[in-house]
Symmetry: C2
Subunit: 112 residues, 2 copies
């Protein structure tokens, strides 16, 4: 879904995921280098539970992927990675997305 036009709902969830300073910072940090959760928490000066929440929002929106790597010795570390994407946002895209929203009431009058 990097060049394809997403459904309205997908667009909304992506935008909602992006509309947060914390998540913007997280995404930027993760895009720069592959890191694991605790390290990321230190870099960004935020509590881990909070980071977890934001991460799972980003993951739900499909913007990052988590990978729990279990080393041969048994210790596990969760690496987080940014998923490349592109969204072109303008009035036409909005108008298009607004048409395919769940609950767009297909019977509604488009033109008065």
């Amino acid at each position: 879904m990097s060049g394809t036009s997403p459904t309205g709902d997908e667009l909304v969830s992506v935008l909602a995921a992006l509309a947060s300073p914390h998540r913007l910072r997280i995404l930027a940090a993760v895009a720069r280098q592959r890191t694991y959760v605790s390290e990321l928490a230190r870099q960004l000066h935020m509590n881990r539970p909070l980071l977890y929440m934001h991460l799972q929002k980003l993951e739900a929106a499909g913007l990052v992927t988590g990978e729990l790597v279990t080393a041969p010795d048994g210790s596990s570390v969760k690496y987080v990675q940014a998923v490349p994407f592109t969204v072109a946002l303008d009035l036409d895209a909005i108008a298009l997305a607004a048409q395919n929203l769940t609950g767009s009431t297909p019977g509604a009058e488009q033109e008065k």
Copy 2:
């Protein structure tokens, strides 16, 4: 601010304004035709106070402009208009925006 790279905060507010099915629909309807508030409320089947709130969020983000037109007879009608814009959203844009956020803690370590 249609081709220029917005500050991180601006980006956040725009995305937050856009991350709502209601506001997407409002923006789409307003982009299609110039309408006034009450008429818009009827088209979208939503209460006016609710519409007002969403409109002022969109206006705060700079996505729509309101214009209170007072007819020669004294009756006034508020027309709402969409403001054209374009935002290219990808990892680079995110990384860039994350750098200029208020409270980006300029003294923080960029590279570990």
